[in-house]
Amino acid sequence: MTIKKRYLRIAHLLFIALILIQFLPDQSTKDVFTNSLISFAVGVEVIVLAASAIIKKEESLALLVDIAGFLYVLLAVWSLATAKYNYLNDLLFPAPGKVIHQFVLDKDKIFINIKSSLRTTLKGFFLAVVIAVPLGLFIGWSARIGSAATYITKFFSSIPPIVYIPYGIALLPSFKSVSVFVIFLATFWPVFAGTMSGVLGVDKKIIDSAKVLNVSKPEMLFRVILPASLQQIFLGCNQGLSVSFILLTSAEMIGAKDGMGYYVKYYSDFGDYTRTITGLLVIGFVVIGVTFLFNKLQSSLLRWKR
């Protein structure tokens, strides 16, 4: 890559434009924390420049720089509409600097809530995967002919898991356990269905190939059928994971005492929309982070596929 391709990007001009905009006089009646926005933007730019020097693949660098460009435009428009020209109601629409400042102030509290949300989600999710995958393998393999299990799964997975919440509250001791239970259900059925369809779709040639090696039944299930249906299993897991976050945050807004959904709901009840928006953005980043890690795991486990 030439120096030109590496460092001469429109995104850097956008960064400079964003910084220059910050020197316009503020018209908002409230404190808008322009310095927080500037520090944040400079931080992002430093990271992008550092990455530009390191990243080898041209496409990945272009992707990163483009994302940064979008971010700068968004921040520029946002700060123009709020802090600089005050087009929007400044009670409902906090300036970007204010949100960043709020995040820094609240970061300990926010991390506690993220931890609580993630713990609940992962508990329900992994419990479901750990039960659904072996069960799906076993039933899919033993009932290769009968598709009864598939129909039953279809019925149960058609019930939106959120409607279990009232019953769960009656059934279980704490609201935490209700959240885990609902996430469990939301993940269990798609993973179970994915596993079974994976098992039923395994190429007969692969099964023959394993049979002539005289594999034992556990080996057939876990060393042959499991990897052969892994892609379908991951399809189910991805579906379960995305529904899990929707359910989790919904549940937290209904009755929890912590978690990111609770944070958003609690402060919007007080009319603290700076914190509401901070919470929304943090949830976005957390979900993206988890999905990213999960996709990394997936492509690493399926690297043998082309």
């Binding site: 005289n214 042959v224 043998w304």
Partner: protein, 272 residues
Amino acid sequence: MTTNKIEIKDLTVNYIENKKSFNALHNVSFGVGKGEFVSVIGASGCGKSTLLSVLEGLYTPAGGTVQIDGKELRGTGTERGVVFQHYSLFPWMTTKKNIEFGIKQSRHDVKRSERGKIAEEFLTKVGLKGFGSKYPSQLSGGMQQRAAIARALAMNTEILLMDEPFSAIDAKNRVLLQELLLNLWEGDGVEERKTVVFVTHDIDEAILLSDKIVVLTAHPGTVNEIVNVPFERPRSRAELVKTDEYAKFRNRLLSLLYNDIAERIGGDEVVL
């Protein structure tokens, strides 16, 4: 006749398709001696792959018997190594892991730590040194079959069953693979040769490799003739194809296949 390693007697196999049962193999009988290389040839649909499925233990015959070392064959077993046309290797294991897995299944005496060494040794033998860490999808079709042969040999089974292993390979690589198999099987004359049943539709392949060729006739699959291949070993393709005997022998086999087809042609498409 009790000296044969594999003894097939009056084997009859019925296929059920669309609730209609049809006769895939009818009263097939032949023997395979210990250390003998036997090819089964015939037009497609003659039941040659079905015959091999029975030997692999994947298919239960409707009648007749198959004996190995005088004992009735029941199901799959690790005294038989198999090479298929496709998917002999598991795509999620590296080439080396595939071979190690095969060794683990058939040779319980081999310690875990030794499996890797044996796998490397056989990868080298088939010309895949340095490809052990590749997944099958990263290899060409010919290399995949090399690896499948390496696994079958590393498993050190007395019997090798090969179901059209080179049919999906391009012409040039097919020739290379045939020679590789010939050299590995003929060996240095010190080691005992393996008993091989090799299914193919390629006459030249059958002649080059085999001691004996079983010609099958289709609908239902029956044995048309069993021909001994009269050429000395070790064989070399270049030397062999130059001789008149080779041409004569090849013509004889062709007429065995074609006469049969000419007699039976009745609108059915025949693919050799």
